[in-house]
């Protein structure tokens, strides 16, 4: 980039468009400063400051939602502002806000420094938002790496625990490997496209638009196709699609519960935001190759995720593997969006219902778990409904929505995806998805059963293991947050207009 261009960028007012990301980055730094300048007794307010920052930015984005500079490219084509980008911003901010809430529940139980967690959370959120709006492979890779490196630290945040460290290490090795695959794909694309000079401006294979033009004009180019598929492979790691899902259960189990929720919701959604961006942008001419590959991935992911979740007793592994199955349903939506334009909106709708239900379930898990949250079993939920009926009810609604039981939001999400798949004539995938949903009902209901239906067990004589302590009762913030999530899940099941009118413009 020449000095003139840099000056032009600095002089322009394009920075305003990135206001939310910039504010979050500043807030992240501000948190660290706050820790330095305030007395230690006041540090417990720092999480609230992080939550406030997220809430303010969320409100700002929501208020300025109509001001989308549709298709406008900023910073010499690094960023492209669009409607899906705005939706993604709202999604990531909402998700991070809820992760922030979970962290205030979980972190005090462990002997770890707290402020850095919220710092990383804000940085990762900003990077996620940039990732969903990137229009350039360098931007794309840098944002992605910022997210991934943030997650390396977050996953191993309980640094005194072997399970957390092990999860962090696994995530680091496999994440690096997937980044390598992704980077290799980008390099292949760059090499295939080369440098194109048009109208005195030099374009390279890093730009999405140039890749699109190249692929449109050279449909059979092997290097470019291989590069695109390897990039998809790198993204498949993020969303946990077969065969790149193998890291999911170990990492989900070892990570602190708020980080698991963050991985399950935001990281997965980021994968789908990027996937939709790529398959409808740069890689659109490769539909002939991508549709069979993604279909195969979707079918394998659904079957594999559901079957391996079937026998899990550990709740975090269960959430992880069932989340793999959800990624499979979402992939069907991505495949359908090649022929049915509104399917992309259905994918986002599903992600929002998944966000509401998952966060509710993770919230309950955060309260049920004792100091060691990696060993939480289904058996620990026995008597939950009697001892903490509120948590039991939230769990039932959240898990029911994940299972897709009408009239909850998850059902409508699945219905929209399946209708889109039906319109796209993906009957085979639809059949696989229905079988998958049937299997998923078994393990989801097993969870509800564990919480609501008591199974009498003979008192073990002699081996009197200490009784598990009662799950912590949520304070009013927790009650409000969980009640809101539950209410939204139920409401969206009956009344989709507020969300679908926004995501599925007719």
């Amino acid at each position: 980039m020449s000095t003139e261009l840099l000056k032009a960028v600095a002089a322009s007012n394009e920075w305003w468009a990135l206001g939310p990301e910039i504010i979050l980055a500043c807030a992240a730094l501000g948190l660290l400063v706050l820790e330095l300048v305030t007395p230690k007794a006041q540090h417990r307010f720092i999480p609230h400051a992080a939550g406030m920052a997220l809430a303010v930015v969320l409100a700002g984005v929501a208020l300025n939602f109509g001001k989308i500079w549709d298709g406008e490219e900023l910073f010499g084509g690094l960023i492209r502002l669009s409607m899906p980008g705005q939706v993604a911003r709202v999604f990531f901010l909402l998700s991070s806000l809820l992760v922030c809430f979970l962290a205030t529940v979980c972190l005090p139980r462990a002997r770890v420094p707290r402020v850095e967690f919220y710092h990383l959370l804000l940085v990762v959120t900003a990077a996620l938002m940039l990732l969903a709006q990137s229009n350039h492979f360098v931007m794309f890779f840098v944002a992605l790496e910022t997210v991934t490196i943030g997650f390396y630290i977050l996953v191993s945040y309980y640094r005194e625990r072997a399970s957390s460290l092990e999860a962090g290490l696994k995530y680091l090795v496999l994440g690096a490997l997937s980044s390598a695959i992704l980077l290799f794909g980008i390099v292949l694309l760059y090499g295939a496209v080369g440098r194109v000079e048009a109208g005195g401006v030099v374009h390279t294979g890093f730009e999405f638009g140039t890749v699109l033009t190249f692929l449109r004009e050279n449909p059979g180019n092997f290097l470019a196709t291989a590069g695109a598929l390897l990039v998809i492979g790198g993204v498949a790691f993020k969303i946990g699609a077969f065969p790149f899902q193998i890291w999911v259960p170990d990492v989900y189990q070892g990570a602190p519960t708020p980080v698991t929720a963050f991985l399950a919701v935001s990281s997965k959604a980021a994968g789908f935001a990027v996937l939709l961006l790529l398959v409808h942008g740069a890689f659109a001419p490769l539909a002939g190759v991508l549709v069979p590959v993604l279909s195969l991935l979707a079918a394998a992911t659904i079957i594999f995720g559901n079957l391996s979740a079937l026998t899990q007793r550990n709740t975090k592994r269960l959430m992880g593997l069932s989340g793999v199955a959800h990624a499979g349903y979402l992939l069907i939506g991505v495949v359908a969006s090649f022929t049915v334009p509104w399917a992309a909106g259905a994918v986002w709708f599903y992600l929002f219902t998944y966000l509401l239900a998952s966060m509710a379930v993770f919230g309950v898990m955060a309260y049920v778990a004792g100091p060691d949250d990696s060993g939480e079993e289904l058996d620990h939920y026995a008597r939950l409904a009697r001892e903490r009926p509120f948590l039991g009810a939230v769990l039932a609604v959240g898990v029911g929505s994940l299972a897709g039981i009408p009239p909850l939001a998850g059902f409508m999400g699945k219905l929209l995806l399946f209708v889109a798949a039906f319109h796209a004539q993906l009957y085979g995938l639809l059949a696989v998805a229905v079988v998958g949903v049937v299997i998923s009902i078994f393990y989801y209901f097993g969870w509800i059963k564990a919480a609501w239906f008591e199974i009498w067990t003979p008192p073990a004589a002699g081996t009197d293991s200490p009784a598990r302590p009662l799950p912590a009762g949520p304070k009013w913030v927790g009650v409000a947050a969980l009640a809101l999530l539950t209410f939204a899940t139920v409401l969206l099941g009956f009344f989709q207009a507020p969300l679908s009118g926004w995501l599925l413009p007719r």
Binding site: S178, L229, P243, F244, I246
Partner: protein
Amino acid sequence: MTALNHAILALLLPLASAVVIALFLRQRGAVASWLSTGVAGAIAALSIHLLLGGERFESSVEWLRFGAFSVSLGVKYDDLAALMLFIVGFVGFLIHLFSLGYMHDDKARARFFGGLSIFMFSMIGIVLADNLFMIFIFWELVGFSSWLLINHYHEKQSAADASKKAFIVNRVGDFGFLLGIIMCYWANGTVNFTELGQDHVFSTAIPLLLFCGAMGKSAQMPLQVWLPDAMEGPTPVSALIHAATMVAAGIFMLCRINVLMVPQALEVIMWIGTITALYAALCAIVQRDIKKVLAYSTLSQLGYMVAAFGLGSIAVEHGGHQMLLAAGVGAAMFHLTTHAFFKALMFLGSGSVIHGCHHEQDIFKMGGLMKKMPVTFTTFTIGVLAIIGMPAFAGFFSKDAILYLAMTKNTAVFAILAFTAVLTSFYMVRLWKITFLGEARSDAAKHAHESGLVMTLPLVILAALSIFGGTWFFHSGIYPKLAGTVALLIPEAHGSAHTTILLVSLAVMTVGGGAALLFYKSAATDTLEEKFRFGFSVLTGLKESFDRVYNYYVAKVQQRFAMVLNFLEQIVLAGAIIRGLAGFAGLVGYGARALYTGSLHAYVYWFLLGAVLLWAYAAGIF
């Protein structure tokens, strides 16, 4: 508020009352009973207001739509609905009032009054429905509330059995009803009454299938078996649901679908009604339980109404030219109205008697109640006079209308119905004489006492209606407003026919009533059983024959078939298919789970495998 809003209010008020009672007032019987009664009073007021307001309207909204098929919810408030709403609202209110006294000491008072409110909601839904689907929904709801209320004394085995029997027998009829609705939709493309009235396909099957619903609900042969057993419920329930309103819903529904009727179907309906009327009257003669006598009498009178409907239209001279008059509808609805008054009166009277005699129901253990319960005696006597057709009482006019219709249309039916009328006055006078006259024959009867005002007031009002209810239709300024076009349909005899009918009805009343009055002694045993043992056992056997046949069928045929199905379900469906598939999935799941070894080396190879596969696909290897 418009009239439509009033109608909707009348429909939703009892629902709100039921919901409030079910959610908040389960332990507060007194509040629940006053709430429910207050709502019933409001409904009665609304129904009278709507009736006299003179406005008739129709309105509907779409509820569900699947492609071309749509279900709408609507209100059709014409003269028929106006009359029926008045009966349901007004009689319902009086019975609520009576229940305040009758159920005062009941432990589950809140459940009882909640059930009454649900019943009012469902019944008004049937009355106001503008299409068959909607009728069906509320039809099932009245079935549910009837089950709930018969089962009120659920700790009694007989009550539990009776409620189950009523529910199941009604399902049989409703199955035909549902088939009829589906067939009607399939043939006509609509189930809206007004649209059906404009244009419809002529078919015998559709009205007969729909009649199956009426056969269940109005307890016509061969589905009549549940009604006598339903007397296990509290007496106000018997009065409201199993005498005045719900069992009449079948007749009301027939009048609603009158346009669909064809002569063949009417013929079948007429004969079923006639036979039911005769059969039930014969059974009533040998009953000892005061409520059972009234129950069989209700069956018999319902048979009258169905027969009247089946007799169909007659040609009349009007303004110099011949025209067809849907006299069947007029006569049936007329008798329905008067019957609702006098039968509710007699049921409440019997309730008062039972209440006064400390829950003694055997009439041969009563006697001599005339002096101890003067109000109940007087009003009950009025009820008896009304049902046996004493001139100037309500039943006289409505029964005459039916007999006249039968005489002009079908002599055989006329003969049977006339004979039934003889039997009616015979068993009613028997009941009246044994219960009220003579000496007290048990301690319960000796210590009988008159009921309180809250119970006798409804009796007095219903007695007044039983006297004037008939003449209202003919000789009063209110009547054109009261029933409007429905009243115009009532067949009226003129000239010599008038004299014939009058003489016939006087003769049957005198013969039946006189015979009973002379024959029965005020004794602790049934005189008929003593003197004509054979005849008595024939009549008893007649009553029990149906139950025997059904029991045999259920035990020997249905039970065995169900065992076979159960076996198939256990072995094939639950065993092989469900458990088998689940076991298979579980096994594969264990296999899949084993792949997550936890070893990082293995995971790295997974990733490399994925990358190689993607590369291979790009290279076109597969």
